[in-house]
């Protein structure tokens, strides 16, 4: 299993009406790597993430996950295979408690019929353990999410994905509108997820955000892959140059 990459995309295309969001894209996500997906606005990063997470079906091309050909018809299906997505602002419901958020959509239950009853003891215990493991201090998992900072929320979202056994973590601009200190909290969590065996696709348009923790970069421009770079081969300034010019330049 380890010889085939975790994700393999072959000539993937997706259009929305007249707009070709992705054109014949082929790339891979290796086991246990953090891949930075870079590109300017409208490069097709989000479309690619939505294909991987099962939000959009693909028009053309082949998608392999763990060596098996897949074609997700819903996010639920992708999740079942171990693909979890954390969106920039859409991670936790502010007005609800931390534990209710943590298990939303996958609530543990003690009783099934006629109506599914929550296992509230397990929810509180497991959530407390997971949140503390992430290093976020809360008085109680019953507290509202609004007491958490943006960074803590993202960290909890990532911790949540790992709790549910994510093999592939898709992070869509996870640092949008976070402070420097909070960025560190989130990066710690991404590293931890990676150390525990998950692969991460890290989407951003800010190279400096991703550079410290990413292993490899894929750069998109208007739906086309224009570069695939090992981090050790290139400085962030050169990568920015590629994104800005829209083409691979000789370093």
């Amino acid at each position: 299993m380890q010889d085939s990459p975790l994700v393999k995309m072959v000539n993937i295309s997706k259009r929305f009406g007249k707009v070709e969001a992705l054109k014949d894209l082929s790339t891979t996500v290796q086991h246990n790597e953090i891949l930075g997906l870079l590109g300017d606005n409208g490069a097709g990063k989000s479309t690619l993430i939505k294909i991987l997470s099962g939000v959009f079906p693909l028009d053309k091309g082949e998608l392999y996950f763990e060596g098996k050909r897949v074609n997700f018809s819903s996010p639920r299906e992708a999740r079942r295979m171990g693909i979890e997505t954390v969106y920039q602002s859409l991670s936790l419901i502010e007005i609800m408690s931390i534990s209710r958020n943590f298990f939303l959509g996958r609530e543990p239950i003690t009783w099934k019929r006629p109506i599914a009853i929550l296992d509230r003891i397990k929810m509180a215990k497991e959530c407390k353990k997971a949140v503390e493991g992430i290093g976020v201090k809360v008085r109680s998992p019953d507290e509202s999410v609004s007491v958490l900072s943006g960074g803590e929320r993202q960290a909890i979202s990532i911790g949540r994905a790992m709790y549910f056994g994510a093999k592939l973590l898709l992070l869509d601009e996870p640092l949008a509108s976070l402070s420097v200190r909070e960025i560190r909290v989130v990066h710690e969590q991404i590293k931890k997820a990676n150390e525990s065996g998950a692969s991460v696709v890290y989407i951003t348009h800010n190279v400096y955000h991703a550079y410290p923790i990413v292993h490899r970069f894929v750069i998109l421009d208007r739906g086309i892959k224009i570069a695939e770079i090992d981090k050790k081969d290139m400085k962030p300034e050169d990568i920015i140059e590629i994104i800005a010019s829209g083409q691979m330049v000789k370093a």
Partner: protein, 329 residues
Amino acid sequence: MEIEKEKRSLLDFFSGIRVTVSKYPALGALIAFSAIFVTFSVIAPKFLTLRSLTGIFTLVSELGIITIGEAFLMISGEFDLSVGGVYALGGALFVVLANSLPSFLAFIITLGVAAFIGYVNGMITLRGGIPSFITTLGTMMITRGILLVATGGFSLTYKGDNFVPTILSKLIGRGFRPSHIWFIALALLFSFVLTRTRYGNWVFASGGNKEIARMKGVNTDSVKLRNFIISAVMAAIAGCMAISRFKFANVAFGTGYELEAIAAVVIGGTSLFGGYGTILGAALGAFLIGMIRIGLVLAGVPGYFYKALVGAVLITAALINIRMRHTST
């Protein structure tokens, strides 16, 4: 050093209170309830008698059952302005059907028709993309209109059997009625569903943030649609209860009940935007409104003051609720 420590523990104490308050949104309603209860006990001599208290209970049970359904729907992020219309139309339909069918069958059919109205409210709102405020404002007018056209404005007298009226609202003695038990049972049931079940978690999530809930795999449309149906069915149950008590249906029945129900829900601490609230609070809100209505009469205050006082309580409660929620963050 010591002072610092003391300050700390005092701070912890107060933030502890705030957490408690934010965990129990009904607390504000409970405080207001107690205050008004004590006030009326003092200023209205007959207020603290079993007779007036059970009288309040009867009124509150009918309004309260509507309020429970409305609260459930509002927590999931939608409104229902048609509950007053469904209450009246449901009651009238029950009279017409029970006059020629067994009352139990009439009751079931009435609830089925109400469920259909709730379904229509939900489908128009969710598929048509119209705010539920508008959809249900429309169905409120439509249900009232149908009632007017069908009855020509005349009252309908109940001549059916006594089965359903007995179960719903026959006087047991000392002013107690089955409707009181139904109200408490439904409040406990829905409170349980909201706080202890997976569906309840989805109700909160649908109102808290539809997009995130969807992303996490919750079918928010299905949750909301079901809650629209629940709201309409509860209104029809309350309508049949009132009919069982009065034995006639009137076109003007339940006029303004939609606003009283929403007021009760808000007084009870539920967020107008959804995602937050309790059934217990909504039930207390309904009690508050019933108490004001009857307490004012007993205190010898002209009935005209009723609406004004409910309005004042509504605004005060909303202000207190929002303050508590902000300080708890």
